[in-house]
């Protein structure tokens, strides 16, 4: 059985025992895979280490144990194969919006001419609807616009895996909805593989093909893996009338509220509905049960 495109294997993050305090395990035994083109969301309460998992995949932090494989190769250092959308945009403030995208594209394609860089960067800015604002600096953009530039910048380098760390956390609901739609469109257009962290259950269901739920830290684990078998395009108004959506939503909220209670125990699923196909403790998602719809 070949490994999935992204394969996180038994990753653990801990801080060693110091003096009187014993070893602090943030999370342990975290394993999951993502196939090409999937959109995975990881949800959980603050402090469970989900940002750290992303950071480990990105190579910005080291894992205490376990490995990460991208397309069969182990990765441990940061690189262009894993693009990142940071929680606070992290745009370079001395560059314009266009300049920021071009900066990243240039790093990816150092041999390209200025014209090529411009054309490529402009294309992605247009896809997030910011063509008119390309000459503005981040300080002159709204929070939503800054995040969109961050998204354009990450997509523009066409990484193998795109990592998003609570990208819409700081935005109001309306802006968030509009950017989510742009994100879905971008995702479908490019076939990008995405791993996103969020604590918004609705967002996770709306955007993802699969949702992973983490228990609370310390010693957090993945307690559930839910396939989101809702067809696309997903329309918010229609989803609200869809029973499956509400089931998923309830299930996830239930898990999140239980999350603190059971860390090591496996959360039993009494339901065996077609929607919620929970893979309990398996390291790799079996390919036949993946129901990605595009």
């Amino acid at each position: 059985m070949s490994k999935p495109f992204l394969y996180v294997e038994n990753v653990k993050k801990s801080f060693p025992a110091r003096g009187k305090s014993s070893e602090l395990v943030v999370f342990d035994d975290v394993s999951f895979g993502a196939e090409r083109g999937e959109f995975i969301s990881i949800i959980g309460h603050s402090g469970c280490g989900k940002s750290t998992i992303l950071s480990i995949i990105a190579g910005l932090t080291g894992a205490s144990a376990g490995s990460v494989f991208v397309d069969g190769q182990a990765v441990s250092a940061p690189g262009l194969s894993r693009g990142m959308v940071f929680q606070n945009h992290s745009l370079l403030p001395w560059h314009t919006a266009l300049g920021n995208v071009m900066f990243s594209v240039r790093a990816r394609h150092p041999e390209w001419s200025k014209a090529q860089l411009l054309e490529h960067s402009r294309r992605f800015l247009e896809l997030v609807g910011l063509s008119k604002a390309e000459a503005r600096r981040p300080a002159q953009l709204s929070g939503g616009m800054r995040q969109r530039v961050g998204i354009a910048r990450a997509f523009a380098i066409e990484p193998r895996i795109l990592l998003m760390d609570e990208p819409f956390g700081a935005l109001d609901a309306l802006t968030r909805a509009s950017i989510q739609d742009q994100l879905v469109e971008l995702w479908q257009r490019t076939g990008q593989t995405i791993v996103m962290i969020t604590h918004d259950v609705d967002e996770a269901i709306y955007l993802s093909t699969r949702v992973l739920v983490m228990s609370d830290g310390p010693d957090a684990r993945i307690v559930e893996r839910l396939d989101i078998a809702l067809p696309r395009p997903r329309v918010r108004a229609e989803l609200l009338r869809d029973g499956r959506y509400h089931e998923l939503r309830s299930r996830l909220l239930e898990l999140l509220s239980q999350a603190g209670a059971s860390n090591s125990a496996h959360t039993p699923t009494s339901r065996h509905t077609p929607i919620a196909a929970a893979a309990r403790d398996s390291a790799v998602k079996r390919s036949e049960t993946v129901t990605t719809t595009a």
Partner: protein, 275 residues
């Protein structure tokens, strides 16, 4: 905010006129100094001339000097323009040398906590040493007075630029560095395309403080060393008891200092950004 600019300008003008006006009036009513003072010889010898010149006299003198600033009638009689040129030349030389050392060193220190700690005591000991204290050492080792002056400018204006550069580089936001890491930028590229622009405002501030120090130092250094230059001119005119010239040159020093600072303030604007 045009109204604010206009009002501020008018207020400045009023303050100037009130100050100059009062000075003029006091001067007109003043009786020449005759009573005993701490410098009796000076006062006695000067007689009528030993009082502070009035603004009107100063303005007349200024016009004379500025009409022909580059005259040269011998060693101790050169125009204000020539004196300034000498001073500025020395400042630019000493300042540039200081920057050439300060900025790369500051960069290295900023990026390496080890170097920061190791060099810190040296920086802190050398920094407070007054230019006047450096002078004898410089003259002894370098011997040439002009070169000594340049050296003293160098050694005194080094520190603000160095310290600010180190500080600016070390406080570059981790976010920007993470962006560079995820883009697989080499250390050199990261230094030039991320760290440098990020630290530039702080570096420019250091450079701005340094030019102020340079200008301060040159006047002091020239007073000691002599020859040519605005500092020497002030001292020489004091020895000639030409207080108009002294005051005038003091004002010129101030104005040139302002201009140097303005140049660097403009440069600071170019690299500024909002985060």
């Amino acid at each position: 905010m045009e109204s604010l600019k206009l009002r501020a300008f008018l207020l400045s003008l009023i303050i100037l006129l009130v100050f100059a006006g009062s000075w003029e009036l006091i001067g007109l009513s003043q009786v020449p100094e005759t009573r005993a003072s701490s410098t009796p010889g000076l006062v006695a010898a000067a007689g009528e001339g030993a009082r502070l010149p009035r603004p009107s006299e100063l303005v007349t003198f200024a016009f004379e000097q500025l009409r022909d600033p580059f005259y040269d009638r011998g060693t101790n009689d050169k125009g204000i323009g020539i004196q300034l040129a000498h001073s500025l030349g020395r400042v630019l030389l000493g300042y540039s040398l200081a920057l050439v050392l300060a900025i790369p060193t500051g960069f290295v220190i900023g990026m390496s906590p080890l170097m920061m700690r190791a060099l810190y005591p040296f920086i802190q000991v050398l920094r407070p040493i007054s230019p006047l204290a450096w002078m004898p050492l410089a003259l002894f080792v370098i011997r040439d007075s002009a070169a000594s002056a340049v050296f003293v400018i160098f050694i005194c204006s080094l520190w603000p630029a160095l310290i600010n550069t180190a500080f600016g580089v070390s406080s570059v936001h981790a976010d920007y560095l993470n962006v560079a890491r995820t883009l697989e930028l080499s250390r050199l590229r990261t230094a030039f395309t991320v760290i440098l622009p990020a630290a530039a405002p702080t570096i420019l501030t250091g450079m701005r403080i340094s030019i102020g120090v340079s200008w301060l130092v040159i006047v002091a250094a020239e007073m000691l060393v002599g020859g040519t230059g605005i500092g020497y001119y002030v001292w020489n005119e004091w020895n000639n008891l030409d207080l108009r010239a002294v005051l005038f040159s003091v004002l010129v020093i101030g104005v040139v200092g302002l201009l140097l600072d303005a140049v660097l303030a403009k440069a600071s604007q170019w690299v500024a950004y909002e985060s």
